[in-house]
Symmetry: C2
Subunit: 219 residues, 2 copies
Amino acid sequence: MPPAAARTRPRKEIAAPASPWEAGRKRGLGRALKRDAVILAAARAFREHGYHQTSLDDLAASLKVTKPTLYLYVPNKEAILFECFKAGLAQIQVSLKDCEGAGGPARERLFAFIRAYAAAIVGDFGWCMLRAEDQHLGAAMSRRIKLLKAGIDKRMRALIDAGVADGSIRACDTRMTAFALAGALNWMGHWYREDASLKPLEIADRFIDVFNKGLRGHE
Amino acid sequence: MPPAAARTRPRKEIAAPASPWEAGRKRGLGRALKRDAVILAAARAFREHGYHQTSLDDLAASLKVTKPTLYLYVPNKEAILFECFKAGLAQIQVSLKDCEGAGGPARERLFAFIRAYAAAIVGDFGWCMLRAEDQHLGAAMSRRIKLLKAGIDKRMRALIDAGVADGSIRACDTRMTAFALAGALNWMGHWYREDASLKPLEIADRFIDVFNKGLRGHE
């Protein structure tokens, strides 16, 4: 249970997306759009207040609907976190597919992926992607998240392997290189602030500079 | 509250250090040693079961003392987590001081620090160092942890700055370089397993290879 200080901290208003239920009454918007709105509002609330500190009541209120209405779209809070995780991952998977399928040296395709990953990790679903595993989920849910993450790791490593094969990346420990890259990028979730001077793509470019050229000066 | 699955998961025995209370009865070991044993046993239990899933009762049992005995050494669980965090940090601070004070190019001193950091992060207090901030601590405790972490970041960046100044590190964004390095190292806490083929210093050397020489192959 969170300490009293965390529970009684004054809440900032959750920056929920415009509620499609209000619009829907006028324009008959579909179920998928409403479900997406639940997922997005949840992602923002989890990032702002934490997963355990966000109740379905908070979420319903931010969307101006009742809690029973939420249950028409999602079975429980754990399932919402998983959907947030998957929504973030879907962005990464689309970028990966683009980078895998593009022409040119694999190193350039890897760097394009790094840029896309940096943008995704600081986006609405970034917090859920990075923190979902830490939220004491049930064993089955944790396993599914780990599996999906491992799939991304594997494809990232395959891009590095392709770079070694085409000569655009020098021979290196490709597994450790993938971990170093993923760590550098995921760590952004701990220090990145939206009001900072560097935007995600600029940060990615600084990282790419370091990883591409290395640090050594004169010998 | 953790889901039922997490709470009822069968517990592995906590690998607590030998209890100095038992030895103490024979040899009169001191208070500081007993307090250290509480901190170390807690660090291992937190890593094994998670902070919220470890009770002071569990901890007392693992040390074969009563809970009131624990209170002779630590006021509450939050304070224990903070002590674990500080114990891990103390290792890092000692290494930093060594590296700052050593002779030779700053790049080599930075790499020596990376090795020490990798060893510390997978050690007994590594989990607490990486995860203390995520445990819904009170605001005052969170602030103290953030401040101590920021101090390490600052000194790591100063080492990189010194490398740029002495020419052993090429001109780069030293702040982003420090974040990339810290991210790569801290991410070990998510994937490193004690039974893995690479030991912490070998992993550090692979990282150093990547960060030193960069990834680019032929142009």
